[in-house]
Symmetry: C2
Subunit: 231 residues, 2 copies
């Protein structure tokens, strides 16, 4: 390890892939910002910005999320740090990338923000993206799909109360494959992280389905023992 | 996204937790460097150094590994980026951390390096470490244990040819728990990534055990379909 100040320093950004689920359209979406200045002015990009010296990359990501999309109180996880030479035409810029999962209750929030033009796009068919954001999105999708099979992070994409059918639909949308109903129920109940509610679904034409909640406390206990969940 | 040059820039390091397995002592080890200058002169640290503008963080980690320990051609994966304010007394220094898995064939190589005093220590009982390297080690151990249960990265810690007993021992050492022999065999053979060799173990007093190799090509095919492996 040599002296710090002999070396050139990169600019450091925190960028965040924001996933949201549209259950009625059966689509996994991402929230993008239209850039208003060069480079890539007018091109869509993952929300983000420069990290400041007094904040961690995660704090910077949360701040940019709030400033650029109005979203607060969200599931956020560090994804990967992108630092290939030449990834930014402005010079040496390294990006600590995050991904966030936004529940439908907060979708409206994001849309109401007027700080920027933030728009939801299908995660698997976005418009052309600035910088290496297409690559960041690819890695985020891989992580989300991978992690969904061993940790129940998918709950973050659902409303607080949901039906088993909605939960299965979430998995099918993100993993992009049909799951066997009976097998799915067996596995998801086998995890022991669902809490059955006394309520049933409101305003549905047919027989109303039972509603469930995710039991976060139970989940934390299970993960201490090394929970693994495979769909 | 605002202009790059309005902002202060952090120094960027790449640090690497190097895991090695000592099968005879049944220990998971990490390779540490004794720092020869301030801050933390004389204190043990994870090998690493400053990223240069013309290289990616991964390239920097591999270069530092080679310069500081003599290790080349190694399994390396990005772990996490550490950027909490105050983590380095020199000022704003952000570390892109990696972890490497070193097979026993390369342990000698590391020891032979005279660039630095590099020494293997038990991963769960290291000496006091510089900076936030204790935290980096904690996260690396979590990742290794977690990933071992769903991806067969453990093979990187074994010699090229190994017995099933050695493979099970690897899992037991890293996960720090005893596994059921029959269950382990069933699961590990069920993965379909082991290639049985015609050879048996040399120089053992008792009945020589069959040797196996990891079939990386088969593994790549399986992961495309979403392999999951749970011990």
């Amino acid at each position: 390890m040599r002296q710090t100040y002999e070396y050139e320093r990169p600019a450091l950004t925190a960028d965040c892939v924001i996933f949201g689920l549209d259950l009625s359209a059966e689509k996994l979406n991402i929230l993008l910002i239209e850039r208003d200045r060069e480079p890539f002015a007018g091109v869509w990009a993952i929300p983000g910005g420069f990290v400041q010296p007094d904040e961690s990359p995660a704090a910077a990501a949360l701040r940019e999320l709030r400033e650029e999309t109005g979203i607060v109180n969200v599931f956020l996880e560090q994804l990967y740090t992108f630092g290939e030479p030449g990834r930014d035409p402005r010079g040496w810029v390294v990006s600590v990338a995050f991904y966030a999962l936004v529940s439908p209750d907060k979708h409206a929030l994001a849309a109401a923000s007027d700080a920027r033009r933030a728009v939801w796009f299908p995660a698997t068919a976005p418009p052309p993206l600035a910088f290496d954001h297409q690559e960041i999105l690819r890695v985020a999708l891989l992580r989300l799909r991978g992690k969904l099979t061993y940790a129940p992070i998918g709950f973050e994409l659902l409303p607080q109360k949901f039906t088993i059918k909605q939960l299965q639909k979430l998995y099918e949308i993100v993993l992009d494959r049909k799951l066997d109903n009976r097998n799915f129920r067996k596995k998801i109940f086998g995890m022991g992280v669902l809490r059955e509610l006394a309520e049933t679904q409101q305003g549905v034409p047919h027989r109303a389905a039972r509603l469930y909640k995710f039991d976060a406390r139970q989940y934390r206990q299970l993960t201490k023992r090394g929970l693994s969940f495979e769909v």
